[in-house]
Every structure is written in C-alpha cells, then in structure tokens.
C-alpha cells in the first residue's frame, strides 16, 4: 500500500526525522493560504500522486489532453506563482515515467517551505529478499534516477544490511555517513536521522522507504525533502485503523480493490481474453500461454486455493466489466479446490450473468471427471479443453485470433 509524500512526511516528523514545514492542500485557495501561513519566500508546490518522477512529469488537461504545464513539482518565488502552479496542477492529469500514458488525476497538493541546499543525497530502506534483511542504501548522487546511478556508477551506491535481532548498529550508521563524505554536525545529524528512519520503518511495517533527495543544508542540517513510503499489506492487521485512515483509494484501481475484498487477486491488462485461474503461478503461466498462442490476456486473476461459488461469480462479473473482453479461459488445477465445485460455480455464474462471449474451461486434478461431466451435461455453450495449451488455442481461435 502506497501513501502520499505529505502523509509520509507527517509520519517522519513523529519519529524525529527532519522535514520542512508544509501544508496539504486540495484547492488553489488552500495553496495561497498555505503560502501565507508558511511565511517562506520560496516554496515548493508539489503534486501528490502515488507514482515517482513527478518533477520531470507533465500536466495535461483531462478533457482536451492539452499540455498545461511542464513539471509536476514547482518552485514558487511569489504568491502569484503559487496560485498559478496550484491551479495548473490540481484537477489536471500528471503523466510521469511511472504512471503510464494515461497518467494520474492530481487531487492533492503539498506546499512546502524552501531551504538552502548544499548537497543532495539518496537514501532508501527496503527488504532485501536475497539477504533476507532490511537493506539501507545511500548515495551521494541524490536527486537523480537511482537506477541509472546503479547502472553507470555502482560504486557510488553504499549498502548496509541490518541484522534483525541486533537492529541498526552505531558503527553501521557511522560507516554510511563516512561513505557519503559527511563529517561533524552533518554526520551526527545523518546518523540520528537514519536511526529514526529505521525505527519508523520497522514499527510501521514498511515495505519501502525512499528519500530522494535527502539534503544537507548550508547550515549542515540533514532534511528529508521527499518521502516515498509503502507499507507491507500483509501487516495490515497490525495497523488497520491507521492505514485505513490514510489510504487514498482514488489512487488505486477500483476493480482491483473490489476483487481484493472478495478474496481474489486481480490485475487488469490490455488484452481481450479474460482469465480465471487458481494459483498465482498458474495464473501467470495461463497468461503467458495465451500470448504464446497468439492472443492477449485481458487480466491476471487468481481465485485462490479455496474459492466458493460466490467468489467464482464475482470473478466472472469483474472479468466481464472490462469491455475489451471477447472471450474467457478458465484454467483450474484442483488441489484443495474440487473440480466439481468449480464446474457448478462456472455454470451458476454463466446463468446468473448471461454470458455472451465464448468460454473455454480446462479442468484438472481433484474430482476432474465429475467436473467435466457437470459441464458436459449443461446446455450452456461451454467449450472443454484438455490441457492449458489446448485451452489457450481454443479460446484464441474462438475469438478469431489475437488482437490486431
């Protein structure tokens, strides 16, 4: 689960991570009031969306698609500029390298005081799956695309792994400060900041925390100028009320939210063959084989290990909401899930929803014969398939080949 920069900074502040004073706004009037309140001559006017690359992104009018402004993060030197930038950002669509072409409608704005920057650093905390521990990554090359830095000059990225039982140790923070060339008051401030961030990371079950840039000011202070934070959804039970309060559902795909509520895992794609599969690996493989046979998958959908009739119906209705869907492939390898139950679920869903696109069903595993018999006995137009390749070939043929 992702949160906005302004929310991340509010959290940082609670842990003693230095951030600049700022105000969350939803209208241009708010932004002007924020400017008056902050009393800073120079302020940053920052689009708030759940995607990176905002500074280099462009804003477009939602209806006409006309370019409104270049750059989703602006430095304003006057009250008038604040008003102009805020008006150009709010209600328009920000397209960045991470949003895809369709971009994201900006509903939130953060107006933040300025500071005198001496140097920009990069700092991130994340879970390193290979090392099975929290990884702290820092670089002197802040403000840049860190993947490019990693590619071109990997020696400029410094890493420490935190032993989960020992926690972040003093010498590790000192080493990292040294590696960044920090000394004196700035080194001390960096170590204090890193300690606070690590505590914040662990206590809040973060999946990732990226601060790009983390800056050293002319006064040798360390300040987090950005905050990209995401939480580990598996830990929702520990933070339910806090997370539900700050979760911005408008930033997420509506159907994906509904699928998750029904215990399904759904990701929309651009193709025209809907898929309904049990198990994440098999669901991905099903998409792959559809593509291999010349079709294009319309979605990833995992109904999980123990789906019931109701979930199968919900899954079908979510797939059918996508107007691009021209056919559906159901691929079930019954383990815990019995094929006869799936077969009944499919029939119930088709009858309930009045399916008018071709449907291919491949069943294997537990109670497969009963499942096949149930499908065969129905008068509905359901095409059986023997294996995954056969199923994919059939559905591609039934919709008249792949997408042009």
């Amino acid at each position: 689960m992702n949160i906005h920069e302004y929310q991340g900074k509010a959290m940082f502040k609670r842990y003693g991570v230095p951030v600049l004073e700022g105000v969350h706004c939803t209208t241009a009037e708010d932004a002007l009031a924020a400017y008056d309140h902050l009393g800073s001559k120079v302020v940053a006017v920052k689009s708030q969306i759940h995607a990176g690359g905002r500074g280099k992104g462009n804003l477009y009018a939602p209806e006409s698609g006309d370019l409104v402004m270049e750059g989703g993060v602006k430095i304003a030197f006057s009250r008038e500029e604040v008003g102009t930038y805020a008006a150009n950002i709010l209600g328009n669509v920000l397209v960045t390298i991470q949003t895809g072409e369709e971009g994201k409608l900006v509903r939130n704005l953060y107006v933040e005081s300025g500071c005198a920057i001496e140097h920009e650093y990069y700092l991130a905390l994340l879970v390193d799956r290979e090392a099975k521990s929290v990884l702290v990554m820092a670089s002197t090359e802040g403000g840049m695309d860190i993947e490019e830095v990693a590619e071109a000059t990997p020696e400029l990225i410094h890493k420490i792994h935190v032993d989960p039982s020992a926690g972040l140790l003093g010498f590790q923070s000192r080493d990292l400060a040294d590696a960044l060339g920090l000394s004196g008051a700035a080194a001390k401030a960096f170590r204090r900041t890193l300690g606070a961030l690590y505590t914040c990371f662990v206590e809040n079950d973060c999946a990732m925390m990226e601060i790009n840039p983390l800056v050293r000011t002319e006064d040798d202070e360390i300040v987090a100028l950005d905050a990209k934070v995401s939480f580990d959804e598996n830990a929702h039970f520990r933070h339910a009320s806090a997370w539900d309060e700050i979760r911005d559902l408008s930033e997420e795909e509506e159907t994906e939210i509904r699928a998750a509520e029904a215990g399904l895992s759904y990701v929309k794609l651009d193709g025209n063959i809907g898929c309904l599969v049990n198990g994440a690996g098999l669901a991905m493989a099903t998409m792959d084989v559809i593509k291999l046979k010349g079709g294009e998958p319309a979605n990833f959908l995992d109904v999980g290990g123990g789906a019931n009739e109701q979930q199968v119906t919900t899954a079908f209705s979510i797939i059918l909401e996508d107007p691009n869907v021209k056919g559906i492939l159901v691929n079930i390898f019954g383990g815990i899930m019995r094929c006869d139950i799936i077969a009944r679920g499919v029939i119930a869903a088709v009858e309930h929803l009045g399916l008018d696109v071709p449907l291919v069903v491949r069943l294997a595993g537990t109670n497969v014969d009963e499942g096949k018999a149930i499908l065969a006995a129905s008068t509905l137009n359901i095409h059986p398939a023997d294996d995954l390749a056969d199923g994919a070939e059939r559905i591609v043929a039934l919709i008249g080949g792949g997408e042009a």
């Binding site: 290979e130 039982s165 580990d232 039970f237 198990g279 098999l282 669901a283 991905m284 390898f333 294997a364």
Partner: protein, 308 residues
C-alpha cells in the same frame, strides 16, 4: 531415498485444532503420512479425530517433539502468529533433536516477521524451513508416502524426477506433466512465492544432485527477485543431472504484484525473459509453456541416456 523427508517421516501439525489444520491433517493421514499429533497453545491434552482415529494435541512444539520424536512439523497457523510458530518449531527441533524440517503453508505473513523468523532458523543449522506461502513438500511412496502440505496427493507417484517450484498449482501442473510421460517423482518441494522464505532453489538443487533416487529435475520459477538466476549459475557448476525449467510471468506488467507477494518486476529487474536467458545459458532445457514440460523432460532424459 528422496530429499529431506523420507516416506515414513513422523510429522506434527501446528494449528491442528483450527479449521485449515484439521482439514489438511485429515488429508495427510488419508494419503499415508505418518502424522503423530499436533499442537495448539492451551489445547494440550485434547485429541483430534482424523480418518476415524484419535490424535493427541500438545500445548507446545517442544512437548509434541519430546513425546513423539517428530521429524517434521507443518504450520497452518494464521498470519499474525505464523512467524512465531516457525521460531517455536525451530527452537524445539534444535534443542531436542538438533534437526528437523519446518513446513509453513500460511500465506500473508508480514515480511518483517519473516525476516526475523528466517534469521532465527538460519542460526540453527540443523533446522530447515520450507515456505511460507507454499504447497509444502511431498515424497510419494509405493503405497502412500509423506505428504506434508496441501497438494492433492493422488496426482503423484513414486519415481525419479525431483520438482522444485515457487508456485502451488503450477507445481501440480509439473507433476501431471511428468506423469504424462510415465515418470514419477522423488520429492516435490514448493518453496513458496513470498519475497523472504526459507529453503531456496539452490538448496533443492544441491539436495537433488546428491540424492540417488533423483535422476532429473524440474525447476519452476516466476518473476521477481533473482533466485532463478542464482540457481541457474549454481546448476551450471554443481549439478550434473538434467534440469528442465519454466518461468511464469512473461506477460506480467512491471510494477504490479501478481498475486504472490514476491512476484513483481521492480526497476526492470526480475523479468521472466531474464530468468529464461539465465536458464538457457546454464544449459537448462526450457519449456515455453507448462504443457510442454513433459515433452521437454522426455527429450532431456533421452539425451542423458535415461530413456529410450
């Protein structure tokens, strides 16, 4: 002899009184797994009926292992408590026997809980963790065998193919593919789709390589991370037996979590293409489609002189 879990391994069930635990314990007994009881804190002294027979329940893993000399435990404990259940089992096996296999089926464990649990297990070298978020491990026997997890037992048969996979149902698909060419399995291991887990591909490859019963290996990966690339590099150096590989997620878009917490292409890394390339570079015979695994395996066995 199979790997880690012999056909007659004695197994306890953590969370045996819960709905999931009881359901799967019953299926395991039905398959022929030597279930010797289970544990649920506060329910020690009770019994659970599986396949018409009563099985004892203890309060702790320590009590259960002390009483039964179990070789393995399987965890069906809800996510908030699963990390600790793993550590409890690791502590008990280490203290009492110096060894043991922990199979954690639970899906949805917070990643920082797993970071802690994985480190805890690694400090106890005789203890092996399989999972979490996995179908488990199965060593089919001539009759019955040891099924520790949630996989459908009846699709398996004893044989000489070792299978290792990140995914559940895709593993079943691979099993069915070996059966389609008349081959059975030595051991099938589902290592799970979480970003942080216990046993990895390399552990499995090393074990299959030294297992006399295993003559060829099927390895199924998916997008995310670089465990497959590392396993490929390892196999080129250390594995002499034929390997057939498949990677799920060629069509997955970057930045989207595909069901499994670990199945995500981030920063352009961890793509299926990258992994297939690593497999091919290591001499692993790749199937482009899971329905081809059988035929690719057959060819690999023929080339190795293991089939006519």
């Amino acid at each position: 002899m199979a790997i880690w879990i012999p056909e007659d391994a004695k197994v306890i069930v953590q969370g045996i009184t819960g709905r999931q635990g009881r359901f799967h314990a019953d299926k395991m007994v039905e398959y022929g797994t030597a279930i010797v009881g289970g544990c649920t804190p506060g329910k020690g002294g009770q019994t659970v009926e599986l396949q018409g027979k009563d099985f004892p329940v203890w309060n702790s893993v320590r009590d259960a292992v002390t009483a039964t000399d179990a070789d393995a435990t399987v965890i069906y404990v809800p996510p908030p408590f699963a990390g600790e259940a793993i550590m409890e089992a690791a502590e008990a096996f280490d203290a009492i026997k110096g060894e043991g296999v922990i199979v954690c089926i639970t899906e949805g464990i917070p990643i920082l809980d797993m970071v802690k649990a994985a480190a805890y297990v690694e400090q106890r070298p005789g203890v092996r963790l399989i999972g979490p978020n996995c179908p488990g491990i199965i060593t089919p026997g001539e009759q019955g065998g040891a099924k520790i997890g949630i996989m459908p037992g009846h699709i398996h048969a004893k044989g000489r193919i070792g299978i290792v996979s990140k995914s559940g149902t895709l593993t079943y698909e691979a099993v069915a593919q070996t059966m389609s060419i008349g081959e059975g399995q030595s051991t099938c291991v589902g290592i799970g789709g979480d970003p942080v887990n216990g046993t990895g591909f390399i552990d499995c490859l090393a074990a299959f390589e030294s297992d006399p019963q295993t003559e060829a290996i099927v390895m199924i990966g998916e997008i995310g991370g670089n465990a497959e690339q590392e396993a490929a590099a390892y196999s080129a150096e250390h594995v002499s037996k034929p390997i057939v590989g498949f990677v799920a997620g060629s069509t997955a878009p970057p930045g989207k979590r595909m069901g499994h917490a670990g199945a995500i292409i981030s920063g352009g890394k961890g793509t299926a293409e990258e992994k297939f390339e690593a497999f091919r570079a290591a001499g692993i015979a790749c199937a482009n489609d899971p329905s081809e695994i059988g035929q690719v395996l057959l060819k690999a066995l023929q080339e190795a002189g293991l089939r006519d």
